[in-house]
């Protein structure tokens, strides 16, 4: 059997990367350092702590008092009484509260305020549901409370309404639904994009070296098609980018419980983003002269693009202008897509636009960079 020249190039390049200890450190260790530290700073690390749930209620209202008592008794929840609805929503949006419950006086129609994409919000919701579901106990308390003052008719009315209430707990939050999740759910995808890109740029150093020492011209003198050599070089970089992304996904879901979402959607987004990173790496490998430059230029460039794309802090914190500028570059689209996919019930169909934009960017970058690279390696 004859070995394929593309495989020869890929094997040699991957072996070279595996010898580069600094490079490996940046691929294997750094992303997780970043995920953990930023993730804890953003409040996702305290998995064992009780979920903070804010409540707006008048304790004098008998129903509210009973529900509150039930919630306070829940082992997973830490109930904080909040002055008003605005404050509550702000707390949820800002991440200080996992969720919020509004109990209007004299009503059994509670409002649950949470961000749809936040894992801790989901957990809080099920806890609140359980509490409210145990409304029979609440009714008993209500009856006991009202037997002193309220008329029986009023009490019965309260019972009926309280029974219906469990079905009426509703998720409110069209205004908060798109908020960026906190903790690892945010830092894992953010660092996936950040490090896939940065490390792709850094490994372009090997590409510059191959060019500079005349390795590629020499390869072109073998009975191998020019396209095969270029494809082999591109595939080598793509595999590094893809390996980086897969490593972050696997480790973050095993260690930090990050759920990435529907596999086809995630594969499509990560795949096209890795292609974008490959194109950028080859462009870098064609443009610079010395093999020290990619590791000097790559990380700062990757960090700036990451900033604009919401990989260092949530996009909404940056404001609409920066967000618009960010969408000129791949990171913002990747971030949008991965955050969308991390919400339950979403899939490839919900990120088609992002995948298409990234695919277009990859196509432009790859064709441009390969033409340039081919030119740069033509002569000795």
């Amino acid at each position: 059997m004859r070995p394929h020249p593309v495989l020869a190039l890929v094997a040699a390049n991957l072996r070279r990367h595996s010898r580069d200890r600094v490079g490996l450190f940046f691929i294997v260790v750094m992303p997780f350092v970043s995920i953990i530290f930023v993730g804890m700073a953003l409040g996702g690390g305290a998995a064992a702590a009780r979920l903070p749930v804010g409540v707006v209620a008048q304790e004098s209202d008998p129903v509210a008092a009973a529900v509150l008592a039930e919630l306070r008794a829940h082992p997973d929840l830490e109930i904080k009484t909040v002055g008003g609805e605005e404050e509550l929503r702000a707390g949820v949006r800002g991440g200080a509260l996992a969720a919020g419950v509004v109990i209007p006086p004299g009503s059994t129609r509670f409002e649950l305020v949470m961000t749809q994409s936040s894992g801790s919000g989901m957990a809080a919701r099920s806890a609140v549901d359980a509490s409210v579901g145990r409304v029979a106990g609440v009714i008993e308390a209500t009856r006991a409370a009202t037997s002193a003052g309220a008329s029986p008719a009023h009490a019965a009315e309260l019972v009926r309404r309280a029974q219906a209430a469990s079905a009426d707990v509703e998720v409110v939050g069209s205004d908060t639904a798109s908020a960026t999740p906190r903790g690892f759910a945010y830092t894992a995808p953010a660092n996936l994009l950040l490090f896939t890109f940065i490390n792709s740029m850094a490994v372009a150093a090997a590409l510059v070296e191959s060019r500079r020492i005349g390795m590629l011209p020499r390869a072109f003198t073998a009975p191998v098609r020019r396209g095969a050599v270029l494809f082999g070089e591109a595939l080598s970089r793509f595999l590094v980018a893809a390996a980086q992304a897969v490593l972050i996904m696997v480790v973050s879901s095993l260690l930090f419980g990050v759920s990435w979402g529907e596999p086809f959607g995630v594969a499509a987004v990560v795949g096209v983003f890795a292609l974008v990173a490959t194109g950028a790496a080859i462009l870098m490998g064609s443009l610079v002269r010395s093999s020290a430059q990619p590791s000097a230029i790559g990380p700062p460039l990757g960090i700036v693009l990451g900033m604009l794309g919401g990989c260092l802090w949530p996009a909404e914190a940056a404001g609409p202008t920066l967000d618009t500028i960010g969408h000129l570059f791949p990171h913002a689209w990747g971030m949008d897509a991965l955050l969308t996919l991390s919400r339950p019930g979403t899939g490839l169909g919900d990120v088609l636009l992002e995948v298409a934009v990234l695919g277009l960017m990859a196509a432009v970058l790859l064709s441009l960079s390969l033409v340039l690279f081919s030119r740069r390696t033509r002569t000795l």
């Binding site: 059997m1 004859r2 070995p3 394929h4 020249p5 495989l7 020869a8 190039l9 094997a11 040699a12 072996r15 070279r16 010898r19 580069d20 070296e209 191959s210 020492i213 005349g214 390795m215 011209p217 020499r218 390869a219 072109f220 003198t221 073998a222 009975p223 191998v224 098609r225 033509r378 002569t379 000795l380």
Partner: protein, 312 residues
């Protein structure tokens, strides 16, 4: 019998600069052919066109019957090319580099291991095969650089100045190795600006200058072009320019050039008998501190043909 290499009418210009002008030659199977010329003569440019790295402006290249432009895969498979620089992965070992080239040249998977060991022995690097290339000495790098071109048993080995920057011992080992390969039947295209190397290794030599072949033949034929002339190397102390002008007018002197600050080279018919008049010619202008009369050689031929020296 099919020639191993035939090239004809090769030309290449960079912008307005003509790097190679109408170059053509033929290499027979098992023949060692040399391109001898100073830096900038167009040797690398010519080779680049022969190995398919550079598209010639005009001309054709046929390797072992396969036309390079019509059937590049077949033509390239017959050539082993050793570039002037060390074009190997510095962060891989010698063995890994050779294995890579085996795969690139499509050697059958089963044959790779044995062939790599053979070539490692051939270039004398079996004991350092598992060290990374960036730990090799300059001479070792040169040898593995050549080894990488031998793996697929090419019909023609093309080397671009393979001894530049190499210590004398490594140079000797490289030249010995090349002679063994030629003895075993491999054809060679050797380029250098070192006359002694080309004289030693090559059966036939083309002298190139300013992009053109100015003469071609065996060493014997080329030296005969100078006729019975000798080469005289003078070291002078005094007004060298005036001395040079006077020497040019001396009967029998066909060429006179300055090779260094106080050094003058003459080509003169029956030079050894001319020495007394040479010395009296410069008398009073410069003192002759050293004289060497050299039998005609390629250096003399080069000077005779181009009015220049091989080394600057």
């Amino acid at each position: 019998m099919t020639d191993t290499l035939t090239c004809a009418n090769l030309s290449k210009s960079y912008g307005g600069v003509v790097a190679v002008r109408d170059v053509g030659f033929t290499i027979a199977p098992g023949e060692a052919y040399g391109l001898l010329g100073p830096n900038g003569a167009g040797k690398t440019t010519t080779i680049s066109m022969l190995v398919g790295l550079l598209k010639p402006d005009t001309g054709t290249v046929v390797v072992g019957g396969a036309d390079l432009s019509a059937d590049p895969m077949a033509a390239k498979a017959k050539i082993g090319y050793v570039p002037q620089e060390i074009a190997l992965y510095p962060d891989l070992t010698g063995r890994e580099n050779l294995r890579f080239f085996c795969r690139l040249f499509g050697l059958p998977r089963k044959a790779v291991r044995a062939r790599v060991e053979e070539v490692l022995d051939l270039v004398g690097l079996a004991d350092r095969a598992d060290a990374k290339l960036d730990t090799y000495s300059g001479g070792m790098k040169r040898r593995i650089n050549i080894g990488a071109a031998l793996l697929h048993r090419p019909e023609l080995l093309i080397l671009d100045e393979p001894t530049v920057g190499v210590d004398p011992q490594s140079r000797k080992s490289i030249l010995d190795g090349l002679e063994r390969l030629v003895a075993d039947g491999m054809a060679l295209l050797y380029t250098s600006h070192y006359m002694e190397e080309v004289e030693r290794v090559c059966d036939r030599i083309a002298i190139v200058d300013h992009g053109s072949i100015v003469a071609e033949g065996t060493r014997h034929e080329l030296v005969a072009l100078v006729g019975g002339a000798d080469r005289i190397e003078l070291t002078l102390d005094g007004d060298v320019d005036t001395a040079l002008a006077k020497l040019r007018g001396l009967g029998g002197v066909t060429e006179a050039v300055r090779t260094a600050a106080g050094s003058v080279r003459l080509i003169a018919e029956g030079g050894r008998y001319l020495l007394p008049s040479v010395i009296s010619t410069v008398d009073g202008i410069a003192a002759v501190t050293a004289v060497e009369v050299v039998e005609p050689d390629l250096e003399a031929t080069f000077l005779h043909l181009t009015g220049n020296t091989l080394r600057d």
